[in-house]
């Protein structure tokens, strides 16, 4: 099998497992906590983890310079929020 399909399948399975267990825990939590408060903490802690991953594995200058970026790419990133 070529590399790209193999990476897609392995990454997809890892994401499926992570989302599945996370959704399961989220459904337990949402029954006893305020969903807005939960999601603030979810996004804040998740952003902190991603920032740590970025700091460890990426040179900040390489984070957004895989190719020269257009203004539309930055705007598109902002739209994902």
């Amino acid at each position: 099998m070529e590399t790209a399909p193999l990476v897609s399948i392995l990454a997809g399975l890892a994401a499926m497992l992570g989302y599945g267990v996370s959704d399961f825990l989220g459904s337990i939590l949402s029954k006893r906590e305020d969903p807005i408060r939960l999601n603030i903490w979810y996004f804040a802690l998740s952003a902190a983890i991603l920032a740590v991953v970025a700091a460890i594995f990426y040179d900040p200058s390489q984070l957004i310079t895989k190719k020269p970026l257009s203004l539309s790419s930055h705007l598109y990133s902002a739209c994902l929020v």
Partner: protein
């Protein structure tokens, strides 16, 4: 974040059995984006596997006991389910498209931090309690770490693999939730959940062939 807002509104306006199956088909959008804009070309068997995974996810998410109550009318929550599907489709396809021109981590980091900031501002304006519920702290940590790890896996896969193959597998997470419900909460699976699980597993095997 809009996807999450529509999802919660849909759950409040309608039924979980309507909103979740519709929203869970968002990977259709990603496959269209992957094929049209990222020049990905799944094989015929992989297309069948993708269809199995998406249909299996929708079937496993439906609660037919609730569904039968409002037969014949447009069920509450359908609109929010469609909006959630579109928002999630846009979000994940955005990661896929952007990962081809920049690090996959950048759009994920921006969207996650931005969502936290918007929810925090909203809560401060509305004077809502935002303290971390410490009595649920351990579960929250696991919830966040696993959800973030899944997002990282998706971003990595979108960067180095094919979005059209990755997304239907990642979106089949209902498979894991149902299995956990059976083994951890001792829930009895419904026939449609078993059919959905069988379709998802068959679909993943076909994608992997």
């Amino acid at each position: 974040m809009l996807g999450l807002v529509f999802f919660i509104k849909g759950l409040r306006a309608g039924r979980m059995s309507i909103v979740i199956p519709i929203a869970s088909t968002f990977s259709i959008i990603l496959i269209v984006i992957g094929v049209l804009f990222l020049a990905e070309a799944p094989t015929s068997i992989q297309y069948i596997g993708i269809a199995f995974a998406i249909i299996g996810t929708a079937i496993a998410s439906v609660d037919f006991r609730q569904f039968s109550i409002s037969r014949g009318v447009l069920l509450p929550g359908v609109g929010y389910g469609i909006l959630t599907m579109l928002m999630w489709g846009f979000f994940y396809s955005g990661i896929g498209v952007l990962s081809k021109s920049m690090s996959w981590l950048y759009p994920i980091l921006i969207s996650t931090a931005g969502s936290a900031a918007i929810l925090l501002i909203f809560s401060v304006i509305k004077r809502r309690d935002i303290a971390l519920p410490l009595h649920s702290g351990r579960i929250i940590i696991f919830w966040v770490v696993l959800g973030t790890a899944a997002l990282i896996s998706y971003g990595f896969g979108a960067d180095y693999g094919n979005v059209s193959l990755l997304s239907p597998i990642a979106a089949s997470s209902v498979l894991v939730s149902v299995i956990l419900g059976i083994f951890v909460l001792k829930e009895k699976p419904e026939p449609n959940q078993l059919i959905g699980i069988a379709l998802i597993i068959s679909g993943i095997i076909m994608i992997a062939i």
